[in-house]
Amino acid sequence: MAGLANVFGYGAMTNHQNDIRNSRAIMIIGMNPAENHPISMQHILTAKETNRAVVISVDPRFTKTSAFANKYVRIRSGTDVAFVYGLIHIILANGWQDDKFIQERTYGFEEFKAEIARYDPKTVSDITGVPEADLAWVARAMAENRPGTVIWAMGGTQHSHGTAIVRTYCHLQMVLGNMGKPGGGCDVFRGHDSIQGVTDIGGGPETLPGYYGIGESAWKHWSRVWDVPYEWLVSRFKDKKMMEKPGFTVSRWYEGVLLDPKELGQDVPIKAVMFWGHSTNSMQQMDRVKKALEKVELVVDVDPYVTNTAVLPDRQDGVYILPAATNYEQWNSSVNTNRDNQYRQKVVDPVWEARTDLAIMVDLAERLGFRKQFTHNMKGGWRGIPASVKDVKGFSEQTMNDVLREINMGALSIGYAGHTPERLKRQQEWAHVFDIRTKKAVGGPVDGEQWGLPWPCWTDTHPGTPILYRNDVPVAEGGCGFRASWGPKAPDGRTLLAAEGSAPPGGPSGGYPAEKDYATDLTLGAIKKALAEGRSPYGNGRARFNSWNIPDPLPVHREPIHSPRPDLIVKWPTYDDVKEHYRVPQPYKSMQKPEWAKQYPIILTTGRVVEFEGGAAGERSASWLVELNPEMYVEVHPKLAHDHGLRHGDWVWVETPEDMDGRPSRIKVKVKVTKRVGPDTVFLPFHWAGVFEGRSLAHKYPEGTAPLTIGESANTVTTYGYDRLTQMQETKTSLCRIKKA
């Protein structure tokens, strides 16, 4: 997301899944939709059938998705930058780039070109293991079939230089001029149910809702929305400095417990941890997570199921499990990967002793003494909450609507004003009038609206923006340029505003800066003024090849921290160590050890299977899913298996290098012999839990709560390595060795 935001302005999928039906080329890189986004395959296959679209799958594994590709390219995990740069190299060498687009709508192409020169097909082929012929084939296929889309997910992001990888995907589309077009775009598929919504409302430690950041102005904006004094907010923190300092991320919170406070970005270690719908077997270096869970004073898990969190730590007390209701037991709205906002009814009241997340939250606020401020806002606050929420299981639809209205009110930067509960509900009733290819409603009271009012949906009359950065339709109909997030001029003096003649029709013909205060004017005056003049409130800027304000302004291939190629580490090393990042030290070079390649010669990558979701406490408790995928395994290529004297179904130890805690970790799993992986790579699904380094934890589950299948967690052996910008875990590339057990 950070990658996209730094190139285009918004950290979100630019087009939508249905729009893939308009693509003529579909490059699926670092993603396996057949297992992880099954429904999206409908659109991909339709494009393949009706447009004869070329489907390309770039993946270290021949996945279920690859089976549907016209071309499968096996890439070494962690080398996407080189691969994509290789494609761009060929595209530029043949003059296939879209010069008009580059000249009018992008910034920093010259220096980008210079960087590209280093990535000739030979070099790239050596780094990625992709034959030059395949590079040529793919480059040409992408160039000859436009518009084309590039789709990725975790295969691209879960790397120590994941942000860089994502930016190169964007750059490929910019070079091809595929941005802001139906059938084009950068279509990252988000993960969880409503994960886009979570990001939008400030799930991360570095920003308040709506990507305002956590600087003073951001706090002031939201203090106005919440109608609480700014000073009161400040008083809740140690001091203003800490208030404006990004906190820990989910991927490394445990270091805040384990490390000496002197190394931390705060003077006390973390004392309590509360998991709110997050599993711990999904966290890299789980052996360290375990230590932290044992050391920290208080552990709370708010979850419908008893997760790994409850059984992993060896401790007798201090672990509290709060049964949460599922989304079927509460009123809610969700934002999917298309930026579509959707209304969802409550199906049943919370069962057993479960309570809705909001009920638990408000109860907590009440007990901590700030319930009033918590539920209050400019419009008076959330209605429908009883005087005392003790033992209240859930609130009414009215409450949910008021929460949503609060977001409508405040999250103006990304155009949330238009998603009023009323409109969402009406769309739900009229779902049948929306066209499957364009997502646009035909007739009825919702006529002309886009399904889900994809943000930015500037006002309650705006149809929503299904395709971002599309400058061939008026802003009022969902048009917009690239976001002018970095002002009108770059530090080097070059303009960041779109060129003359490149702007959504009905407004100024060229680039223009963002409307003043559009994100903070709660009256919507600024936004309405801009719309009235046919301007996009956030301006009309340029997409950046060169992001001067972040590490590696131009993306550079960097070998994974656990690289199988010592020789390449020399030429393409990882970053220098970082003293503090999200309050913890983040070493790079000092953690990258060339000798590992000898002791641990096999590349380890991890991911998902269709039957389970994340930590899968719930899915592993569903008999019919377990029937289809009963036990944890490691995918091993026949050659590798036979070289190790392994047969299908044998038990093996998978061992990875020592990282922070100075000892190698290992898991005992069954071998699945398959050609999905290449002979140099093994793959672990990461959904299992309940067994730790060969020891079963089954006895630790409260009576009758153990899942139907338990197994070793892949993350027991995943190793150190985090993205330079987002601190996303490098769970896609590590090194390991396997031993018959």
Binding site: E35, P38, Q42, E49, F62, K64, S66, A67, Y72, W624
Partner: protein, 217 residues
Amino acid sequence: MAETKVTVPFRQAGGPELKYAPSRLKFYIDVKRCIECGGCEVACKNENNVPAGIARIRVVTVNEGEQGETNVAVPCMHCSKAPCVAVCPVDALFHRPDGIVALNKETCIGCGYCLYACPFGAPQFPRGAPFGARGVMDKCTYCAGGPEVPFSERERRMYGANRIAEGKLPMCASVCATKALVAGDAEEVANVVRMRMAARGVGGGAWGWEAAYGKGY
């Protein structure tokens, strides 16, 4: 450009009575679309309360992990000339007017003869004691329940859901992630097939009785 769409049989009519439905209900399985997500199988088990070990529909994959990897979901094909019906000694298997091959668990003696006659291995038998399978046969009902009072508790317990009587599609087809599994009125299904074939050219990946058993197999 051809867009494929699935039409729900009897939607307009609704209601349990099927007499008026002249044409036969069919499945169409598109091997060029099935992604082996297993949604159909899980949804079937959930909707019809199928005991573990029994799969009224199951997904078969060939060449896993290699070029040419192909999946096909195999339910009961509700064959027009159904071998199972031909061999069942007690006529527990029979054709409904709408073409569904239905099972009467009241008369089935659990001999397993149908299993050997069926091209698709659709009939299922509860795994039993050391002395082999026990109990009567179970198979895909096309989500049409069985010869019992529609929607009765008894029907639900013995045969599972009766979605057809509710005017709904079979569960497996309605959840199919990619619309690889298309169910409904033979006419409508034929249209879907035609549209897809038109978009793809010759062959088209339609997969069913005829295609499955090239002559002489």
